[in-house]
Symmetry: C2
Subunit: 143 residues, 2 copies
């Protein structure tokens, strides 16, 4: 039995033995105030469960990829774009991002947005929109 069998939070939404990571390794992707924690990364599991937290007023990168994202909100408030629709988000909401669908998560101005994201361990790299496309793609968020 290793000490990784049980892990308590050491602070709100920070877990013992789990590093708080930079959201992107790739500095080219535009985002603001996002952290990433890998909660489960068992080599015998074909998927990983990560916890992302977007600080108040922050956002994740607008991107798409072949692999699906399965998301569960567990903290705060915000809004998400998936394809040509946008939704307000609250704890326990579930979001499925289909393959090659543009998506982005935003925290409310005055609250963080924390969510679990389930992905396959083996997955393709995100694609970014062309600079001139961002406003059109993000338009549903402003409705």
């Amino acid at each position: 039995m290793t000490d990784r069998t049980f892990r308590r939070t050491v602070d709100a939404f920070r877990w013992e033995g789990v590093d708080v990571l930079a959201y992107k390794q790739d500095g080219a992707a535009p985002f603001k105030d996002v952290t990433r924690q890998v909660l489960f990364d068992d080599p015998s599991l074909a998927a990983q469960l990560r916890y992302f937290e977007v600080a108040p007023g922050g956002w994740t990168t607008l991107e798409r990829h072949e692999h699906v994202h399965n998301v569960m909100v567990i903290r705060g408030r915000g809004r998400c774009l998936v394809g040509d629709e946008a939704w307000d988000l609250a704890p326990n909401d579930l979001v499925s991002v289909p393959p090659l669908t543009w998506h982005q998560f935003l925290a409310a101005p005055d609250e963080p947005l924390g969510f679990l994201c389930l992905v396959n361990r083996e997955r393709d790299r995100p694609q970014l929109p062309a600079a001139g496309e961002v406003d059109r793609l993000a338009k549903p968020l402003s409705k």
Copy 2:
């Protein structure tokens, strides 16, 4: 875009479009007051995310299997057995159940215990202890 992209809760810890299922199909396994909801079951994902809820005073089956369980508590209080150790559980606690390790989840007498459980889509069936072994295996829970 299907209407499954976004799913809100319709009640506390009940999601729209998600059936509340019997915990076991197999009537032989001993358990008490447990429901199961499959939150994510995307065919392109190699894993499933389920939500189990144990009513106050209830418990899951004492069992083991080759596949690992990755568990995150999201509601209430309780206690779990993993191998020869037991832990008190509260929201956001993480539990990893290694292969072939006996485990059981119990709700507090006066509170439900709700947890997410991540498993591989392809997995082996649980094994049950021999009747005479249950008391010895469950002993850490009484400490």
